[in-house]
């Protein structure tokens, strides 16, 4: 009477000399793979140094099952010897296919030691950061050269894409820009009036609104909304074209991606952002006027009279002159990152994020520089 030392749904191990007999039974398929794999080491332990794998009672076998048989054989072999017997004809080919595959090897991408990882991160981050600033700068240069070229030869400007882009980045963002400008104008007056009322100076909230909104808030808000809305769209559009080799196709057709993709977007933004900024100024002041009417009982007519007295046109120009610069930054960052997309969906997402972060950061930094400049020239 042979001594059964292990038995479950899929494996029966019978002790014996010189070899333990491992009878495989049931269906060895992907459905049972977890269970079969889980008891592998246990089976190996009870087998001792030599084992025969008997496949004659095996039911259904698929490639996963064949891989499992190979794993069993490999584990048993490590402890001594293993032999495969009783292979049915219809299983033979599968086992052959699998055994011609290489033995398992670790396939996780190689990492570095944990204590080096932060160092590596800082190093690669710095190098990549410097390199990408350089690239962005050279891209900006290239775009400016092309832009200058197309001013010399206006027939190179692609009118249809330009108008199309103007509709998308300009017209269609009027809703969101208007809403936000209106609310910010109203909130400025609302909060300002509460504070200024403590000094009995609540009428000066109109000065505050006019100067704050025209010089800074109106255009800055517009630029940030457009960066989030259109800058990201530029990256995503151009990036997905890069992924589908459309940009390469353009190059081989003799079309310059800068001319075809970048310049219409850049020009559209440079034209539309000042217009949107103007629109945001008007709507924001209207919002403030409404709040002043509700909260301070200043009628719109009185509001306008006072507004014209205290706010000079310079404040408007100081704000609006920044718009084309902001537009150039947003369009350049968006298009540059789009063209730099490579390979994977991850890269597209990462580039889109980077485009928005870069453009908002640069817009605010440039705004600060402008503020210093205008103060020092006395505007």
């Amino acid at each position: 009477m042979p001594d059964t030392v292990f038995d479950n749904e899929y494996v029966t191990v019978t002790a014996g000399t010189p070899s333990a007999m491992v009878a495989l039974k049931g269906d060895w398929t992907i459905e049972s793979a977890e269970d079969i794999d889980a008891v592998m080491l246990k089976v190996a332990k009870v087998c001792g140094s030599s084992a025969v794998l008997d496949c004659s009672t095996l039911g259904h076998l698929d490639t996963t099952g064949a891989v499992l048989i190979r794993r069993y054989a490999a584990v048993l072999e490590e402890r001594g010897a293993a032999l495969l017997t009783g292979v049915k004809a219809d299983h033979k080919m599968l086992l052959e296919v699998i055994s011609s595959c290489p033995p398992p090897a670790p396939i996780a991408p190689e990492g570095v030691a944990w204590y080096l990882a932060p160092l590596l991160q800082v190093g690669t981050g710095t190098v990549l950061g410097l390199r990408s600033s350089g690239r962005l700068l050279s891209f900006l240069g290239l775009v400016l050269i092309r832009l200058f070229g197309s001013f010399l030869d206006p027939s190179r400007i692609r009118l249809v894409p330009l108008v199309h882009q103007m509709e998308i980045v300009g017209m269609r963002s009027m809703g969101i820009v208007g809403l936000i400008a209106f609310l910010i104008g109203a909130v400025t007056v609302n909060q300002g009036a509460i504070q200024l009322a403590k000094f009995g100076a609540d009428i000066f909230v109109i000065d505050m609104l006019g100067i704050g909104h025209l010089r800074e808030l109106g255009i800055l808000l517009t630029a940030i909304i457009v960066a989030g809305r259109s800058g990201s769209a530029f990256t995503a559009e151009i990036g997905s074209m890069v992924l589908h080799e459309e940009v390469d196709a353009m190059k081989t057709l003799g079309m310059d991606p800068i001319d075809v993709l970048v310049l219409p977007r850049l020009l559209a933004l440079v034209i539309c952002l000042p217009l949107l900024g103007f629109y945001a100024d008007i709507v924001g002041i209207a919002g403030g006027a409404m709040m002043a009417w509700i909260q301070l009982d200043i009628t719109p007519a009185n509001f306008l009279v006072y507004f014209r007295e205290v706010i000079t046109i310079e404040h408007y120009w100081v704000g609006i002159i920044k718009a084309p610069f902001f537009a150039a930054i947003i369009a350049t960052a968006g298009c540059y990152n789009g063209l730099r997309v490579e390979g994977s969906a991850d890269s597209l997402g990462g580039r889109t994020t980077r485009a928005v972060v870069q453009s908002i950061f640069m817009v605010i930094a440039l705004d600060a520089l402008f503020a210093i400049f205008f103060t020092s020239v006395g505007l």
Binding site: D35, D62, T63, C101, A108
Partner: protein
Amino acid sequence: MRFLPSSSQAWGSRVTASNYKGEFAIRVRGLKTAFGPHVVHENLDLDVKRGEILGVVGGSGTGKSVLLRAIIGLLTPVAGEIEIGGRNKSEMTDEEDRLSRRDWGVLFQDGALFTSLTVAQNVQVPLREHFHMSQDLMDDLALSKLTMAGLPIDAAVKYPSDLSGGMRKRAALARSLALDPSILFLDEPTAGLDPIGASAFDELVQELSRSLGLTVFLVTHDLDTLVRVCDRVAVLGDRKILINAPLAEVRKFDHPWVQEYFGGPRARAAGIEKS
């Protein structure tokens, strides 16, 4: 703890699908698909026998890929019944439908690998989704499938964007084989492969079909594949299946497109003699 049922009885649809012993793996009756006013198929009937390799051919725009997409459920037909593994798709619950998908492998025309994962991880995606295997076993399985599909080992850790078109196709085949499906849908598998790779691919499909009893639905333009691998050939045209028969019968079929297709110089090169 696992939330998936573990024993075989709980996988209702899977059991019926893989244990299905009926004659036809796929039955399509009265299929109509349309994009707006443009009708692609109308009153289309198609039977695919269990364990056979069916080649689907047809001119460009006759809706080969649309038919495939309708059968695998990526496209809702306007009318008609589709039965896979003896079960009518329209009668399945969402959960049954989801589980039944474990029983098919699909190879898309340009691979459709996940670009943010390595090749090995791509193969492991279906395993991870449907099972709870050890990483070690999954690595082993992924490597075996990749080798079966004819990829070198070092490709396993690469990203799809680092591979050539042919290698991407092989990686995608490995992924479609990951769950040991009983039905394999291949959309132009040999397009873009070199002749050596293509014939190795043909052999692999044939071997798998024989040893695993795999049913293969193969959309192709490759005449060599039709000759060497396919048990039967279905010709799409005039919005339906013109003929679904062994190659010898198909090439005698009296239809101008069929005659031109199998009588052209490329067909002669593939060894189809006009009788």
